[in-house]
Amino acid sequence: MKQLLLSLGIFTLLFMTPSCDVIDQPFKGNVQDTTSTQQQRNVLIEDFTGHRCKNCPKASKAIEALVDAYGSRIIGLAIHAGPGNFTNTNADYPTDFTTPEGKAIQNFFGTNFLPVGMVNRENWTASGNGHWSPYSNWPTLSSEAIDSTLRIALEASAIVVDDTVLELSTEGFPQTPLLHDLSIVVLIKESNIVSPQLMPDDTKDSDYVHMNVLRDYVTDTWGASFGTSPMVPGDELSKSFVGSWDTSWIKANAAAVVYVYNPTNYRILQVIEVPVN
């Protein structure tokens, strides 16, 4: 019996050494320092959503909470793409928020359920799913991205000319040596759009306020070449774009989102959001 108990003890210790954390106070205090004037790495959360997807408002709320915590370092982008029963229009949900570019991104990165998102498109692999994350994981992923090194700083300005033409200028400043090419994407998003949304309790909210809605890409879906390897700190990159402005968009609610990514793994190195003047 002694030997039995000894064996049992050793066996159990081997596998049960890990214990259990019991939490009494679930909330953390203040989060990151957002007072720094130097540009730091920002986070683009591409939130794949639909106005007939009842859990999607929860994802939108998660972005709002992160913006409250981290300010302008979190940039949300609501991409209405996914299964038609979540994104198609009907009499109750008449606004078509879908875009061809959103559909193209959804198809390329390969998902068919909502809500789901990508945080700076980290961890992409052709056959994997590591780049997708549920909204519940966005705080953790955002926190990790925010703590990571800034590899290129961006500046941009956007102006609407003659009410129909959008002119954008962008500049990039490598902060570390970059041994791969860079691509740049420019798009327009709009917030404060009131339109019906299916809610988590299965009811329709006719006065729902949609935030960060992808309106259009100024570049094509996969952007334009922005820099060629190698690049080092001190280099200055620049590119200008001209696109069309839809007069139904409200400038005060719109913003131009500019991001630079590594075209070999789609990882977004930096993203900024600038007002449309």
Partner: protein, 560 residues
């Protein structure tokens, strides 16, 4: 050890090993399956084309290879999804070796390294398994040790990560299970006719946490105790499990602990079989990724207390276990009237009745204004109080009778209540308690008549006639199926489901499906053409949604 090294070498050189199996006495076995479907655009079942795949043809398959030589075995599985077929989880993208292991037994130890499936008790604390039809696979990748320490004393230890499609879960699992067969150790019990086994298990997961708002437990533990007592025709199984604070996407990031209880009592003697079961689950979602959803990375398995129907129409409304909380009962009785008795007839008659009901558990939610308590506790639940939201009930009767040497039939009646808000829309209890008028349900009466007729030697004709009568959801449906099989090679089948009661006249559609199967030895080839309506496919209380489709599908399986 040299022999072990030789076996390892043989496994690494599998083709050679197969040839050299006589030298080592080992055997190589395997099986292969390939499924594919060519999808046709069908505006009747999918008016907007939302389910119509861009690829038009989708195919997937797998092959298992297992080499065994005495106490040593090893194997691997190759899987390909190019691309994954409609209705299977989208996470399956690509191809590769997803399962590989080496295993040996020595000195009362059974050691496995690599991939393995394992289960503690009924699985309330831990179950790693695969269900191909669902696309479910949470295989462990790590180390498993099983030990027989003394007579009647069995231990298992596992350490590893779970499969997450072609990747691994972010959480690490480590657990131990002990089982003691008391009757083997104390013969006094045996002499009393008692066979008693007790067990206990513990599982802990570790997942890194870096949430900016919440202090998340990185180590979460669950444990359980169980007992199986048998005496004569009686068997009593009980199991209780407890899980410590585990805020997750499933439970809305509350820190409440979880618990579950299952008990089953059965009696079987002289043609009479009775089973009574009760289950209660409270916040027992346990995944190796706290952000996981649907059927991804589940650590435990909560067995259903409802009957799983295989007939097509009742199978449209299967129950899926609600891991956040449910309580249910199941009662089943069957009796076989003896041959040559008044009710048994010449060949005997089997009559069975099954009743199962599942509902919400009692939940007294903490007000949202009390942030901390709401997050820590979520809700209070009294296990002695019954929940008020019915999730599901199923009352069914069956008669199985062989009339003569050539003809037998099964007649089944079912009465179903199905909470669509819970089981299809995934609504939690709180909004349903607030707005009970918004709960969507489906109540139906179903009749199924299945007949099997032996036309002549090796020729069989099987028919099914099903009727599902309801005013809810998609309305009433009728189905007829004819199967003709010529043993051992051919099998032909034609069926049609007519959704004549659909409230939308445009959706009062027929769903015809024709199949032919050819079997040769251990190989089987199936070709089908027709429509499949949307539904929910479940195995053991775990379910996935199947979208509507139309097209030509084939399946090839073989083994060696």
């Amino acid at each position: 050890m040299n022999r072990l090294a030789l076996r390892l070498l043989a496994l690494l050189l599998l083709p050679s090993a197969a040839i050299a199996q006589d030298s080592y006495g080992g055997q190589l076995h395997g099986n292969f399956q390939l499924d594919g479907q060519w999808y046709l655009r069908d505006e009747g079942i999918d008016p907007t084309g939302e389910f119509y795949p861009d690829e038009r043809f989708l195919g997937q398959g797998y092959a298992n290879f297992v080499y065994t030589d005495g106490d040593f075995s090893g194997g691997l599985r190759y899987e390909n999804y190019q691309n994954v077929m409609l209705g299977f989880p989208e996470g399956y993208r690509g191809e590769g070796i997803t399962y590989r292991y080496l295993q040996f037994k020595q000195d009362n130890l059974d050691v496995t390294v690599g991939s393995f499936y394992e289960q503690f008790g009924s699985g309330m604390v831990f179950r790693s398994y695969e269900e191909r039809g669902l696309g479910y696979d949470n295989a462990m990748d790590g180390v498993r040790v099983k030990a027989n320490l003394a007579k009647g004393v069995y231990l298992k230890g596992v350490l590893g990560r779970q499969r997450f499609y072609f990747e691994k879960s972010p959480g690490l699992l480590r657990g131990v299970d002990a089982e003691i067969n008391l009757s083997e150790r104390w013969h006094a019990l045996d002499s009393l006719g008692l066979r008693w086994t007790i067990g206990a298990s513990y599982m802990s997961k570790y997942q890194r946490a870096n949430d900016p708002f919440l202090v998340l437990p990185e180590n979460v533990a669950a444990g359980g105790v169980r007992s199986q007592l048998m005496k004569g025709p009686w068997v009593l199984n009980t199991e209780f499990a407890y899980k410590a604070n585990d805020p997750s996407a499933d439970n809305g990031y509350i820190y409440k602990d979880g618990n579950g209880f299952i008990a089953n009592l059965s009696y079987s003697k002289n043609g009479l079989g009775v089973i009574a079961g009760v289950k209660r689950i409270d916040n027992m979602s346990f995944r190796s990724d706290r952000n996981g959803s649907t059927i991804d990375m589940l650590v435990n398995y909560l067995s259903p207390t409802t009957e799983v129907h295989t007939y097509a129409l009742p199978a449209l409304y299967q129950y899926a276990t609600q891991i956040n909380g449910e309580e249910g009962i199941q009662l089943e009785a069957n009796y076989r009237f003896k041959r040559k008795s008044k009710l048994g007839g010449k060949y005997g008659t089997l009559v069975s009745i099954n009743y199962s009901a599942v509902q919400s558990i009692d939940k007294d939610y903490v007000a949202t204004s009390n942030d901390t308590l709401r997050t820590l506790q979520g809700y209070y639940s009294d296990p002695l109080e019954r929940g008020t939201i019915p999730y599901f009930h199923d009352l069914n009767f069956k008669i199985s009778k062989k009339v003569n040497r050539s003809f037998k039939y099964n007649l089944t009646y079912l009465n179903l209540h199905y909470n669509r808000s819970v089981l299809e829309d995934g609504l939690s209890d709180e909004p349903m308690l607030s707005n009970p008028e918004n709960i969507k349900t489906m109540d139906a009466d179903v009749i199924v008549l299945e007949t099997l007729y032996r036309v002549k030697s090796k020729h069989y004709l099987r028919n099914e006639f099903q009727l599902l009568s309801t005013q809810d959801d998609r309305g009433s449906m009728a189905m007829a199926l004819v199967e003709y099989s010529i043993a051992p090679h051919w099998f032909f089948s034609v069926q049609d489901i007519y959704n004549y009661g659909n409230p939308d006249p445009d959706q009062q559609l027929h769903y015809p499906l024709a199949s032919v199967v050819y079997t040769q030895g251990t190989s089987r080839f199936q070709l089908s053409y027709g429509r499949q309506q949307r539904g929910i496919f479940c195995v053991g209380g775990v379910c996935r949604v199947v979208p509507p489709s139309n097209g030509v599908s084939f399946s090839l399986t073989t083994s060696f």
